[in-house]
Amino acid sequence: MSEQHDHTDQHDHDHGTHRHPPAQPDDTSPPGHYEVMIMAMRDLLIEQGILTADQIRRGLETLDSWQPSRGAEIVVRAWTDPAFKQRLLADGNEAVADFGIDTGGAKLTVLENTATLQNVVVCTLCSCYPRAVLGLPPDWYRSKNYRARVVKEPRKVLSEFGTELPDDMVVRVHDSLADLRYLVIPRRPAGTEHWSKDELAAIVTRDCMVGVANPRADLKPT
């Protein structure tokens, strides 16, 4: 299938002779305002010779290659190596460089859950997220529902995720708005003392590192 064919197949709108892959391949509805803005920006960057289509594609490919498993690997090391955990808490950027992760201009700030403290991360203004260690944020993280409510009724929101917190546990919500990005080190569950690193990493899921869920020993992969 040629690019031209692909293009006409996917779009019933007309915006000149520009060709580009669709933002959402299965969505045949007319593009919204921001989608049109993205297409225009992309076309301009290419026209002006600032970026090539291949550079943009590779950038997206790199972004998509970042998975929450990177964060899980970091958490497991923190669970099993107290010196590393101290470094991670003191300077996230420096510590994750051990894993070849470049956090860019953002300052990675690591938060540790304890028996009496649950940390939860949100960005109420947009969707700031520690992409370098967790990849792209899930849809719920970007939803207005989560962003508006978790700073106001965090216990209720967590209970909707199936995470019930005792009344005497403190909930600390972190609104990530500026140049910091937050990663939660969840509590290591009891009964995991003899697990391998791979087994541990399997229960450190994305949502645990955002703070809306907690790792469970009964979810050990079989």
Binding site: K107, T109, T124, L125, V151, K152, E153, P154, R155, D167, D168, M169, V170, V171, R172, V173, H174, D175, S176, L177, A178, D179, L180
Partner: protein, 105 residues
């Protein structure tokens, strides 16, 4: 005027609503919190958002707010908090007042 705040110091967020690209959410404007830590200096996003260089850099702090000071009807643990990244030019020293929910508007 520049100010440098120390961790533990009580601060108040400016209760203003200027137009434009602002990174200080409405729910903390006019509210009192406590400096949790100094985060470093960063280019000012309120300028970067319009294509300027964001210089001089602005000091950034994490400010801890008690839920009960933000939402008067909050019914969770009294020690529950929200930590928010706030640039120094939004903050002023605040004389702490005893009691719960003293900073309600």
């Amino acid at each position: 005027m520049t100010q440098a705040f120390e961790p533990g110091e009580a601060v108040r967020v400016a209760g203003i609503n200027p137009p434009g690209h602002r990174r200080t959410p409405f729910y903390i404007r006019g509210k009192q919190g406590v400096i949790e830590r100094f985060c470093g200096e960063f280019a000012n996003p309120e300028e970067l958002g319009y294509g300027f260089d964001g210089l001089p850099k602005k000091r950034l702090y994490r400010v801890r707010f008690r839920q009960i000071d933000l939402w008067p009807d909050y019914d969770g643990n009294i020690a529950d908090t929200v930590d928010v990244d706030v640039y120094e030019h939004w903050l002023s020293r605040s004389i702490p007042t005893a009691g719960i929910g003293v900073m309600r508007r």
